[in-house]
């Protein structure tokens, strides 16, 4: 992403350059927001709700969200369901395999904080944000498909607000 990241710096001093970057920024952000391909990855009850959200009545395809089986081609990851200690390294590996502008929705109580398995369980990771950076936390056990849609819209708003400058700095290390 070499060229794009240095672009905003040069455009600053060109007269009227900022209009070009902002409009270019808007187009790029708009396109990234409206075609978030999500990774087919669900562990527990939230996976069933995710399936229903992808089915006919709630249909993800309306937002341009299409499921991709391989992490390389996905840019949005639903962590749907309980993450046990045995599964944690795999979730981290999956996150790292995804290509860079990637976003994570921690779906359901278990992914946000361990949910009903917070007390007395020796095998559950207390929240997925301990291993991967999370963009949107979605409470509910399991959250309704409508609230899953709302989480996706929140991610889209977040993508639309991103600046071209922060592309030059490596965002998440």
């Amino acid at each position: 992403m070499g060229i794009i990241s240095k672009l905003p710096v040069y455009m600053e001093n060109v007269p009227g350059g900022t209009i070009v970057t902002t409009s270019l920024e808007k187009v790029l952000n708009e396109s990234r927001a409206s075609s978030l391909w999500y990774l087919l990855f669900g562990t527990a009850c939230c996976a069933i709700e995710m399936m229903c959200a992808g089915a006919s009545r709630y249909d993800f395809d309306r937002f341009g969200m299409f499921f991709r089986a391989s992490p390389r081609q996905a840019d949005l990851m639903f962590v749907a369901g309980t993450i046990s200690h045995k599964m944690a390294p795999r979730v981290k590996l999956l996150y790292e395999q995804m290509a860079e502008p990637r976003y994570v929705i921690a779906m359901g109580g278990c992914a946000c904080s361990g949910g009903p398995f917070y007390y007395d369980s020796y095998a559950v990771l207390k929240g997925v944000d301990k291993i991967i950076p999370v963009d949107v936390f979605l409470p509910g056990c399991p959250p309704r498909p409508e609230s899953l849609m709302e989480a996706c819209i929140k991610v889209q708003q977040k993508v639309k607000k991103e600046k071209l400058q922060d592309w030059s700095s490596d965002r998440r290390g």
């Binding site: 046990s84 200690h85 045995k86 917070y118 007390y119 007395d120 369980s121 020796y122 095998a123 207390k126």
Partner: protein, 158 residues
């Protein structure tokens, strides 16, 4: 359809010292057996014509603070009756014969009891860890006095 008493009578005569009838609160045909003669009992249960109990529903491990109790639930598909078998094994380093070669279904049930309670099943084909993470080093979690690194107990709410 052999009923409650005839099964108990048949078993207690067949294994005089080892098997004894058991009374449990909700009435059910239950038998307690010594850990040593578990294989003998199961071979008899599977082969005997009028019992033919070869369907193992599950094996439960219970930590009774001074010993570990293992409960087998066996039923027969032809005669449609069910039997509860209970044995005692000492808490630390308990040993019991594996019945995997008689009823293959017991394979994973025994593995689970071994992993969570620490009961060693003699000549079990592959006693490997399968429920807990591979690098698990905090002993057997299901024992009642167990405590682990990030194990948080729910505070008592009065």
């Amino acid at each position: 359809m052999a009923d409650h008493d005839s099964i108990l009578k048949l078993l207690t005569e067949r294994f005089p010292g080892k098997v004894s009838a058991l009374e449990l609160t909700p009435a059910q045909t239950a038998v307690s057996v010594e850990a040593a003669s578990i294989v003998e009992l199961f071979t008899f249960l599977v082969e005997s014509a009028d019992l033919k109990m070869n369907y193992l529903s599950t094996i439960t491990g219970i930590d009774r603070t001074d010993h570990i109790e293992i409960v087998y639930f066996v039923s027969s598909l032809e005669h449609k009756h069910m039997l509860t078998i209970k044995t005692k094994v000492d808490r630390i380093g308990g040993k019991i014969e594996s019945i995997q070669h008689i009823i293959p279904a017991a394979n994973w049930f025994e593995r689970e009891v071994w992993e969570l309670y620490g009961v060693d099943f003699v000549n079990h084909p592959d006693l490997r860890r399968f429920l807990l993470p591979d690098d698990w080093d905090q002993g057997n979690p299901m024992l009642r006095d167990w405590d682990g690194r990030d194990f948080i107990r729910m505070p008592e709410v009065q």
